[in-house]
Amino acid sequence: MRLRTFALVSLLLVAAFTGANITSWKLPYPMPEDAQEGKAVWQKHNCVSCHTLFGNGGYVGDDMTNILKRRTAEDVQHYLTNPPVMRPNREHLHPALEPGEAEFLTSYLRFVGDIPTLGWPPEPRGAKQ
């Protein structure tokens, strides 16, 4: 293989890859404004350092992709505005949000929960009830 072939093949591959990406990241429905605000809150407080979304992030806390299918929005907002002590600490609290921020955040989490993720997070299979 020669220089020219290599350069050409690489450029074509990059173009094809970029195109495939852009057609693949379509949202299921337009993102509501509250959810957009909520994404900014998620980023501002660096939630991803401890939690995952779509399974990407830190491993200290649980995955948040479909948290609103397990808890009500009110529960989550209450947790975030009156944060408890984080186990196994005795004093260290979970970071706190303002009430407005907590509402935006739950809108974002609701939107994320509606994105089809091909089965993430997995349904527990081996659970012996």
Partner: protein, 502 residues
């Protein structure tokens, strides 16, 4: 030439100094004042580094190779810092209520930011060094290379500074503010420009190694630019993040890695030119194809259509082929068991450590966790962290340290004590890394099995991981001791060789 005519080209030429833009009559080589001494101490290396065909003077040093010392020194120092920050973070995870000036979440951000950037800075130095070495010609503009160093350093340090004040972007790996990434992109732009102009200027001499290192640099730039600003679409946000986390690491840096190894083996006389260059473009094209579409293994669960399960899996499998070719190349290079000086031995200890993790922790473990049914359960557990450390440090980090040591020790040999300490440091890094990642993989397996498969409460499961996280911190302590010891030896090599090369 397109560049000649463009306005941008004009501005760059201004910046780079007119003299450089004119066709240079000579090779552009810079003859070090003490080159005799340099050559004398080179004697124990298996072969003299490049020989100037025109003057017959061996062991000349290009300006770009002296500037490369700034980059590699900065990389080594940042690596030293990372070990300390990381160890504190690991301890924070096992001791409740540990008082610390920086909370865990920002410490982690600094750690991740450092993890991507010191290998980048080191790579820039290595590319400058080995491209000039391979072409046996000076870089297009040494002045640009010098300025570009301060730019990339300032932009990188601004990320750590802002994160220390808890100012970040909350995006994993791309933790800093947009301005910082604009600075890094600009630096990568200048870097790519400088390299391309060098290749254009010496068209007849272009070697496959120089070409694929340049291609790798351009790809680094192309995939960073979309990450300067964050997007609101959360699916696109995840995907573009992996253009850096994956396309950088598993495609662009793979290209620069193959380039260095080829150039290193060839120019130290370890392997024959024809053995090295025969497969290089093919290997590189495979790296680009497999590396690019292999990004699919990060797209399984982020809202992308289902065909990415197949694309990600198949192309990740293809990723193993260029790695095998690379291993074959290094094996051929070392088969002759040449007589080596201590400088080469220490360099090779680092390079071979890198090859070990390139094959095991990066490629084999990486491939296992790429299988979608496995990934569904292990995704987002400490197994990912185990693989990330084995691959990012084990494969890329060791290589950049090897290159940095090689560049910074040019013209000298380590004394016996330094050599012994260097080897001890490499051992400690290996033992520390293996301990850390084994502990992480066990912890991750427990998370995957108990929380994801059995459906136990995630936090309950995490509270039972203390044993493994402590073992990880212990491994981290061994690692950090090796990290500091090696950084110190590299610093010593840098000081000792200062007179030899400038």
């Amino acid at each position: 030439m397109i560049f000649e005519r463009s306005v941008l080209g004009y501005l760059f030429r201004k910046l780079a100094g007119r003299k450089q833009a004119q066709e240079n009559q000579d090779t552009g080589a810079y003859q070090g004042a003490n080159s005799k001494e340099l050559n004398a101490s080179h004697g124990t290396d298996s072969k003299q580094t490049n020989t100037n065909q025109r003057t017959g003077a061996p062991g000349q040093v290009f300006k770009a190779q002296i500037i490369a010392r700034n980059y590699t020194l900065a990389a080594a120092l940042l690596f030293g810092t990372q070990g300390i920050v990381a160890l504190l973070g690991a301890i924070d995870l096992i001791i409740p209520d540990l008082p610390s000036p920086i909370p865990f979440e920002y410490g982690r951000s600094i750690h991740l930011g450092l993890a991507v950037l010191w290998p980048l800075i080191g790579t820039m130095g290595m590319v400058y060094y080995f491209v000039t070495e391979d072409l046996d010609r000076e870089i297009f503009s040494p002045r640009l290379a010098k300025w570009q160093f301060w730019l990339v350093l300032a932009a990188s340090l601004s990320i750590y500074a802002s994160l220390t004040f808890r100012l970040g972007r909350g995006r994993e790996y791309l933790e800093g503010l947009p301005l910082s990434y604009a600075g890094i992109s600009l630096a990568l732009g200048l870097f790519s420009y400088n390299l391309m102009r060098t290749l254009i200027k010496h068209k007849q001499r272009i070697t496959p190694a120089a070409m694929i290192m340049t291609a790798g640099s351009v790809l680094l730039l192309m995939f960073l630019i979309p990450n300067i600003l964050s997007v609101t679409n959360p699916i696109a946000d995840e995907a573009t993040k992996f253009w850096v986390v994956h396309a950088w690491e598993e495609m662009a840096f793979e290209l620069t890695t193959s380039g260095f190894l080829a150039s290193y083996l060839k120019n130290t006389g370890l392997a024959a030119k024809k053995d090295i260059e025969k497969w290089l473009y093919l290997e590189a094209a495979l790296t680009v194809a497999a590396g690019l579409f292999g990004t699919g293994h990060h797209y399984y669960w982020i809202g992308f259509p289902a065909y990415w399960l197949l694309v990600g899996f198949l192309f990740s499998f293809l990723q193993l082929i260029p790695v095998a070719l690379l291993v074959l190349m290094v094996y051929k290079g070392l088969k002759k068991r040449p007589q080596l000086g201590n400088r080469q031995k220490l360099t090779l200890a680092l390079i071979l450590s890198s090859m070990l993790y390139h094959v095991t922790g990066a490629s084999l473990l990486g491939f296992i966790i790429t299988v979608p049914w496995i990934n569904l359960y292990m995704h987002g557990t400490y197994i990912t962290s185990g693989h990330a450390h084995l691959a990012l440090f084990g494969s890329l980090g060791f290589l950049v340290l090897g290159g940095s040591y090689y560049i910074l020790s040019r013209g000298t040999q380590p004394d016996r004590k330094t050599y012994r300490r260097g080897i001890m440091a490499v051992l400690a890094l290996n033992v520390g890394l293996l301990t850390m990642s084994t502990a992480l993989i066990i912890a991750g397996f427990l998370q995957a099995y108990r929380a994801r498969y059995l459906g136990m409460n995630f936090m309950e499961v995490n509270l039972q991981l203390n044993l493994y996280l402590s073992a990880r911190a212990a491994g981290g302590a061994i690692f950090t001791s090796g990290d500091l010891l090696l950084t110190w030896q590299i610093l010593k090599a840098w000081r000792k060789s200062k007179n030899a090369v400038s």
